[in-house]
Amino acid sequence: MDKLKSETTALPSLPALPGAWFDRKGLVQIGLLALLFLAPLAAHLLGHIYYVNLASRITLIAMAAVGLNLAIGYGGMVSFGHAAYFGLGGYIAGISAYHAFDYSLFISWPLAIPGSDSMLVIWLAAILLCGLLALAIGAISLRTTGVYFIMITLAFAQMMYYFANSWPTYGGEDGLPIYIRNSLPLVDTGQPWTFFLIAFSGLLLAMAITSRMMKSRFGAALTMARLNDTRLATAGISPYPIRLVAFVISAMITGLAGALYADLNGFISPTMLSWHMSGELMVIVILGGVGRLYGPLAGAILFVMMETLLGGMTEYWKLFLGLVLLLVVLFAKHGVMGWLAGRERHV
């Protein structure tokens, strides 16, 4: 008995092990990334464009969920309104392309801002504007906690949704097409495989930033804000600015994913802003395993696979999604990653 106890307490003192590529968790993580990369590569080589685009879809939804996971999983902020940033990112890509297409101005006063079909410009704009929006929404919402926070983030996203719906300039409820995919220097973004590589890089970057950041001082403070904000305040660090910054970064990641997602679909509509979108992003985070670096990836693969396979069999596939989700929430709290890679240990 004593021996067992000393063994369990000795376990966390081996800091070299977690993250090593050869343990179970490491293998699962490498496997997921390899699957996401190799499957579309094979499809590309065999000429099945549909599957390459499907992989891009998984990748971008996963990236949006990586952003949300930073808020929910790492920061303990249950945002039910991340569609606002996903959709805003999408609209920035769409609106910018729209003005670039007919050489009109986005704003003529106080300074003239033309559209742009350069992805780099669009990404920068999406990151900045989503950050600003999240700063405003977060500043108000983070004054509240618990259910209030959930409902307020939901309500603000609905505000964006109804605004897009009733603002006629950019298509209102019909949405806006992006006739020609926005461009990058040197590469042809219209090629599905090229676009997949761009999306995949975005996902890897978002995951790397999350991972690195959560190990830093900021991550330590955010973790403490989630686990016990009294302890954080007692140490002399106000939880509010820590949470707000995390919320903003989370929105920036989701917004960038949204800009890419609009380019993938060649179309943007208020659906990207709807509360179903917020709910689905949340579902992906939870299906994958909340607060796990690879959770959003696992969740997105599972979600899009269900959508594609079940959706091919029945138009009522969301009924089954609902049942699966209900069972996962009630009985399998740790998600796919918990099931595949074991419980997470904080050391």
């Binding site: 190990k215 403490m224 305040a233 106000s238 820590i242 904080h346 050391v347």
Partner: protein, 247 residues
């Protein structure tokens, strides 16, 4: 005489019809343990709240090292050097002991908006955290998750967290609560050594510990301080005897 570190000056707090704090004044001096005792419902928690910054007094002031802190937040007070421990453990259970203490070191250094350098091999954080743990004789438990600690060890970690802030004053809220006789004796010994470095305002139920540790004692009854003095004076005071031993 020695320097006054923490001063409460005529604090008042009212909740509706209930006067929870009535004209409370007290001082904590360098090198001493000042104990605050009182029967249940005397208003100790309300008073602690006003000292720590969770509650704002209706009137009166709180000074720390000569600076008025009455209107400051919990975090701001901590940055000025007020360390505290809680009656109910406020540690992050899943994290290791040293990670709990490190957050205090990080706060002391004032840099939480750093996004790149990993903390788990940052000696400028680990070193002081380990040192604070050593002072509470917990060095050997540094890498253990808090959830696996005993009740007494958690109390010690709480104090270590407060110590890591290099505080000017410590506010300890019933640190002995729930400890066995052995744990109480151990912690009493540690606090006795500690008071040389940091003065301690000790809120405590365990009278043996209070009488052994405290240089001065204030007795709170129904929101007012009814007596102040050293152990002998408090033991002799008829009002205190009445408040504690019944009508």
């Amino acid at each position: 005489m020695s320097e006054v570190v923490l001063t409460l000056n005529q604090l008042q707090k009212r909740f509706g019809a209930l006067q929870a704090t009535r004209d409370v004044s007290l001082e904590l001096k360098q090198g001493e343990i000042h104990a605050l005792i009182g029967p249940n419902g005397a208003g100790k928690s309300t008073l602690i709240g006003q000292i720590a910054g969770n509650l704002k007094p209706d009137a009166g002031s709180v000074h720390l090292a000569g600076q008025e802190i009455t209107a400051l937040s919990v975090a701001q007070r901590a940055r000025l050097g007020l360390g505290r421990s809680f009656q109910v453990s406020s540690l992050a259970e899943p994290l290791s002991v040293v990670r709990n203490v490190m957050i205090a070191v990080q706060a002391l250094q004032g840099h939480s908006f750093r996004f790149w350098k990993p903390v788990h091999r940052d000696e400028s954080l680990l070193g002081p955290a380990r040192e604070a743990l050593e002072r509470m004789q917990l060095g050997h438990r540094a890498d253990t998750p808090v959830s696996e600690l005993s009740h007494g060890e958690r109390r010690q970690v709480e104090v270590a967290c407060a110590l890591a802030l290099k505080p000017r004053a410590l506010l300890l809220d019933e640190p002995m609560a729930g400890l066995g006789p052995e744990g109480t004796a151990h912690l009493t010994e540690l606090l006795e050594k500690l008071k040389q470095e940091v003065p301690i305002l000790l809120i405590e139920h365990d009278m043996d510990a209070v009488f052994r540790l405290a240089d001065r004692i204030s007795v709170l009854v129904a929101g007012s301080v009814i007596a102040q003095g050293d152990s002998a004076e408090i033991r002799r005071n008829p009002d205190v005897r009445e408040a504690y031993l019944g009508d």
